[in-house]
Symmetry: C2
Subunit: 238 residues, 2 copies
DNA sequence: CGCGTCCTTGAACCGCGTCAAGCCAGGTGG
DNA sequence: CCACCTGGCTTGACGCGGTTCAAGGACGCG
């Protein structure tokens, strides 16, 4: 893995890359921090001051909330090109943490730099506004799923979310770094229940458990399990 | 209730009012729609195209999701000065509805007008970005509450939310238009469970049930019930 | 080969949702 | 002014789904 400049970055979905204009190049390349985080290392923790915005150049990051006297509750995963580390108003502190799920390259811009970029190209600000607005609808949708679905539906929706968001390898398997606890956290349940439900899905030949890996055999079957809820999602996400 | 211009509007928290500059006045007064919605009337419904952004001038609006073959699930309430009706990317359709909870005056700006306003005063765009970013953290926090709290904690948190967000009258009572179903929806439970828990809280003299009204006698007791979770909220909200 | 970590399965418990019946307050009409 | 009616609220009983606890199994790494 090597540090790279935005010019040659392949993440066309990145909000910085997308709005890159010639007037920016000096600022962006001078003031962009780029660092490698090894698997399981912390990018920031709850309580840290919010100094700017992070972007995943390459890898995978997990944002999570640490419950007092309990285990973790995963909020979301972010991979190539995605923003993370935003949390409400400025001059504030993180209420959640972010770890590298696998070895990752992370870009970082300080708030002052971002404000400079907004001024030169307000399109970035507009895109950020849309992005946050979108994130808000997604977390509202997820809230409804978690509060209304039963176990089978919750786990089907998580599997479908991982399938749709991060894809399968050539063997039709989900990325192997997603373990049972990750699925349990996303579904707001326990790893025991995940095991049970995965066994059920295997009996129905919707998935195939291959040791710790999970092959998705019938994504459409997963989708049909949660079809009652999909009407509330915007077409792009389905 | 009378329609009024932004100049004399008392909602200093309104994002339009806050960013009002002289160059705007023509556009704002010409292109602002303002209408009165009687109690329980719909402002927009799921499936409608998203044409712009709504602001509560005076009154109370409830945003809600209609579950297929089930009762409603409240998302949030918005009162004076607050924005509502935002939902992800542009050129999209609402996945939820909004009704007037009481007689209300609502302001509306079309997307094209908003874009004009952004150009003249990018500060509005910046504030909107922060607002959505903030909304996103709040719905994430709420997600965590709903998924982790037990019944007692959920209902304590809803009562505290209503108390902190909308205040008490001179008799220490919550606004009477919040009924048991509203509380149940906010807490993602049933009205029966709300009744039971309210009776428990009354035995503990934390609240007083007065027919359909609810007096909050010890807000700090409610707060202490959910103290484990408050660490994750930003100071301003607590 | 041995150990640690992750995964699986079983069994017991219990919180909460559901169903059903009754209550109370407020509004309406005679 | 009272009787009735309606809609919201309350309470009890029951049963299911899911969490918890405990034990055992499988995989991967040193």
């Amino acid at each position: 893995m090597k540090k790279i400049s935005c010019d040659i970055c392949p993440n066309t979905n990145c909000l910085i890359k997308k709005n890159l204009i010639s007037e920016w190049s000096d600022i962006v390349e001078k003031d962009k921090y780029q660092a490698i985080y090894k698997k399981d290392y912390s990018v920031f923790s709850a309580g840290n001051p919010i100094l700017g915005l992070y972007f995943v150049q390459d890898g995978m990051v997990k944002e999570f909330i640490l419950r007092p006297q309990s285990n973790i509750e995963i909020v979301r995963f972010a991979n190539n090109g995605q923003v993370f580390g935003h949390a409400g108003y400025e001059n504030n502190f993180y209420t959640f943490g972010a770890d590298a799920k696998i070895d990752s390259i992370i870009c970082f811009f300080e708030n002052s730099v971002l404000e400079e970029l907004y001024k030169i190209n307000p399109k970035l600000l507009y895109d950020l506004m849309l992005y946050f607005s979108n994130q808000h609808s997604e977390s509202t949708y997820r809230l409804m799923c978690i509060s209304q679905m039963n176990l089978r539906e919750k786990i089907a929706s998580v599997l479908y979310y991982l399938y749709a968001g991060f894809g399968l390898n050539s063997e039709n398997e989900l990325p192997e770094y997603f373990n049972r606890d990750d699925i349990a956290s996303l579904a707001c349940t326990t790893s025991e229940q995940v095991s049970r439900q995965l066994s059920d899905f295997q009996k129905e030949q919707i998935i195939d458990k291959r040791a710790r890996k999970i092959a998705i055999l019938k994504p459409l079957a997963l989708k049909s399990i949660i079809s009652d809820y999909l009407v509330m999602l915007k077409p792009a996400v389905i």
